[in-house]
């Protein structure tokens, strides 16, 4: 049975491209086990973690660049969407932080709103990994390189953890800005017997 460090490392391996995982995933786990045996837990993580962050980025980019032109266009589109969004949120947070004094009511609320967007930044990596694996799957299905059942099962097997992380991030992102309005919304929903939902939603948001 896998121990916690092995489970965590197995989860990290999911961020590599699907082909890479298939070819080297098992070997990487074996190597991780042997590193722990020889160097202990702390030294192993100190060696593995920085290597993970650099290599996962490089290997994903190389893998992406080698795929079809459709995939390359999708990648550029994804980066074009994510980079300005991330910079915008960070700039807005910093701007708010410096512009309003700490005890300013409006400033605090704007900052809270921006902080609500922070989980979106946290889901960039898992979502990126997910879509990087999705595109080869679609390519394979179109080119009929393998049967759809095999390709789909393989896709689910390698992406389920990645997807869980991403969905948790999206859930957190939705919950943080909206949680104050949830009790009001549910009470109002019961009281108004499901009528006039849109005005109710607006009222709760402005409450």
């Amino acid at each position: 049975m896998e121990k916690l460090p092995q489970k965590i490392y197995s989860l990290l391996i999911n961020f590599y491209p699907m082909d890479f995982q298939k070819q080297h995933g098992l070997e990487m786990r074996q190597t991780f086990d042997e590193l722990i045996k020889d160097y202990g837990l702390v030294k192993t993580w100190l060696r593995v973690l920085p290597d993970f962050f650099i290599s996962v980025l490089i290997i994903n980019i190389k893998d992406f660049m080698e795929k079809s032109s459709l995939q390359f266009k999708l990648a550029l589109w994804g980066v074009a969407m994510l980079v300005p969004f991330t910079l915008l949120v960070l700039a807005a947070m910093l701007g708010t932080l410096f512009h309003f004094p700490a005890n300013n009511f409006i400033g605090q609320h704007i900052l809270a709103g921006h902080l609500g967007l922070a989980p979106f930044i946290l889901i960039i990596l898992p979502m990126g990994a997910f879509f990087m694996n999705l595109v080869p799957l679609v390519n394979n299905l179109f080119q009929q390189k393998q049967t759809s059942d095999v390709a789909s099962l393989e896709f689910i097997r390698t992406n389920v953890l990645t997807l869980v992380v991403a969905v948790a991030g999206i859930g957190a992102a939705a919950f943080i800005p909206a949680h104050d309005a949830i009790p009001c919304f549910i009470n109002g929903l019961i009281a108004q017997h499901f009528h006039n939902i849109v005005p109710l939603f607006d009222a709760c948001r402005n409450a």
Binding site: R47, V48, I54, S55, I59
Partner: protein, 115 residues
Amino acid sequence: MNNINDQSENLTPAVFYILLALSRQDLHGYGIMKQVVEDSQNKIKMGPGTLYGSIQRMLKDKLVEEADGHAKDEERRKYYRITKLGTKAIGGELERYQSAIKVAKKLELMPSIKV
């Protein structure tokens, strides 16, 4: 395209030391990792991501290949072997180093090394 086959391109330190390790004998991933640490005198400590990322690239470039005949290994680990092209590539790289060292020696940049 990135291609080491024409030997015009320098090898990265990771690729160089992996080829050097495999020049002795066929090794599995962790064996390569340990040999690289020893050969580089602790200066290059690769993690699994860098190691297998480099190996994947080297398999594509045909510098190394998977080696059969290691069935006695209980954990069914993959072993890797250097190819003729890999031997040629590391030879070319060592020649480049050698000429650079000669120049450095003439310039007395490395007085401790005798060529």
